[in-house]
Amino acid sequence: MNVPDDLLYTESHEWLKREGENVRVGVTDHAQAELTDVVYVELPKMDREANAREAIAVVESVKAASDIYAPVKGKVVDVNKALESNPALINSDPFGQGWIFVLKIGNADDLKQLKDAAAYRKQIG
């Protein structure tokens, strides 16, 4: 499984990429393989505020619907509209074109709670 070194990770299989005051968020390669064929993505509303570990998006496979959580407290400042017409981007390019939303974070210290690549690799075994 691909686990890029330059990203942060959550217990619930989201990845984060720091972009100045923002973080870009998606689900990991491991998560997309577990979810299987993604057929629908419900994106969060623009400008909504979310607390850490609050469910703000839904990824649906043929079999089931899975919640996607805000990894840290923040405000939604961008969503990946491409997923509305092509949800399978989450399967084909989970760390790239399959990103789900961007959060503007209030407190950069919140990122210290998250896992680095080594810790996430250990979690998924």
């Binding site: 299987t36 064929d37 079999k63 089931a64 619907a65």
Partner: protein, 385 residues
């Protein structure tokens, strides 16, 4: 239920070896998919796929009055079966609710094979066995009304589920694959027929049945032959684009055809008339468990009906237990739902209050607090073009 308590089929090691994703299902550890539900679904629609159905149960019922007794236990008419043919039928409780849906084959003059759902093996067997014991004890008042004088019970009932493995081989290329496996001079059984075959020392019972809407067979065999047959079919099927398929594709394929799934679309709370499956109930039979209730349901019309529907426009796929609305009024609940891999829109089935079940009726499915438009459709949802 912990994984340790789950049963495994004779093909379990083959699934693990081929990298299948394994889930618990009806007390069994079964493959839900190998590579992709959508790819496996398309393999069955366009080429051919093989499914492990060893988790399903098999009962053998024989004896001088086996047919007469089964006709009091099941809804369809056993008398219509010649030796070597099978029929879809229901096992009902005394209020007409569905305990199980199954296929009964007449494999001898007074010898029958019942193929039942994995999660219902114990319950079905206990239900049949109880009636047989009461009958043998002559305690007719405890039996369903109408059966007091209905059937003698010179019948032997055996649960052979542990002895048999099974596979379903389904898809338009099944005939080519069959001839590659068994030679061009061997004929496939006709639809709903079952034959015995002995290729390469294996003993197979092969029926021309399935749960996908494609041409196909279901094959039963001794558990010790399971891996040999599985690997042989995959090897010979390679040139036809065969794929091993999991329960995920089995579910999307059957739902496109509107074949019901026991435990989701069928349950003791609903009878076959409500499920729209009255075709498999013979009300001309004088006695069978649940008959009175079904007769009334047929005369008065059922209060609820199971209907297929499709989602309109882009929206999330429907799922079991979502509420269904019409003009703001809640009219029922979804029992099965998915994104159809063949049609590429959401499809499902729902029990709806009967006045709202006309084909073409516009309904709404509530998904995470938001209502999405849908339309009641005709069966089947998918038709081969």
């Amino acid at each position: 239920v912990s994984e340790a308590a789950q049963k495994t089929t004779p093909l379990y090691q083959e699934h693990v070896r081929r990298g299948a994703k394994i889930i618990p299902f009806g007390g069994w550890l079964m493959p839900v998919q190998y590579t992709s539900i959508v790819e496996e679904h398309q393999a069955v629609r366009n080429n051919v796929g093989i499914f492990d159905i060893s988790h399903m149960g098999q009962f053998i019922i024989e004896g001088a009055s086996a047919g007469a007794w089964l006709n009091t236990m099941l809804t369809n008419n056993i008398d219509k079966l010649d030796v070597g043919t099978g029929q879809y039928t229901f096992l009902l409780n005394q209020t007409g609710g569905i305990i199980d849906d199954l296929i009964v084959y007449r494999i001898g003059d007074q010898q029958f094979l019942l193929v039942v759902n994995a999660a219902r093996v114990e319950e079905d067997f206990a239900w049949l066995d109880r009636d047989l014991r009461l009958c043998k004890q002559g305690r007719s008042p405890d039996r369903p009304s109408g059966l007091e004088t209905a059937a003698p019970c010179n019948v032997d009932l055996k649960n052979r589920s542990a002895n048999f493995g099974g596979v379903a081989i389904q898809g338009p290329k099944v005939v080519d694959l069959f001839h590659t496996l068994l030679g061009n001079d061997v004929d496939l059984p006709a639809r709903n027929h079952i034959v015995d075959l002995e290729p390469g020392g294996m003993r197979l019972a092969m029926a021309r049945t399935g749960y996908t809407g494609e041409d196909g067979v279901e094959v039963f065999f001794r558990a010790e032959d399971a891996a040999k047959l599985w690997n042989l079919v995959l090897e010979k099927g390679n040139q036809f684009g065969i794929k091993p398929c999991g329960l995920g594709a089995r579910d999307t394929l059957r739902l496109e055809m509107c074949y019901p799934l026991n435990g989701s679309d069928l349950s003791p709370e609903h009878n076959p008339i409500e499920a729209g499956l009255g075709f498999f109930v013979d009300l001309n039979k004088p006695n069978f468990t649940g008959r009175d209730v079904l007769q009334r349901a047929k005369e008065n019309g059922p209060a609820q009906k199971l209907v297929p529907f499709r989602m309109e426009g882009k929206g999330p796929p429907p799922r079991p237990h979502y509420s269904v609305f019409r003009n703001g009024e809640r009219i029922g609940e979804v029992t099965s739902g998915t994104l159809s891999p063949s049609l590429n829109y959401g499809i499902g089935m729902a029990y709806l209050s009967a006045p709202h079940t006309k084909i073409g009726t516009k309904i709404e499915i509530e998904i995470r607090g938001q209502k999405f438009p849908a339309t009641i459709e005709k069966k089947p949802l998918y038709k081969k073009s």
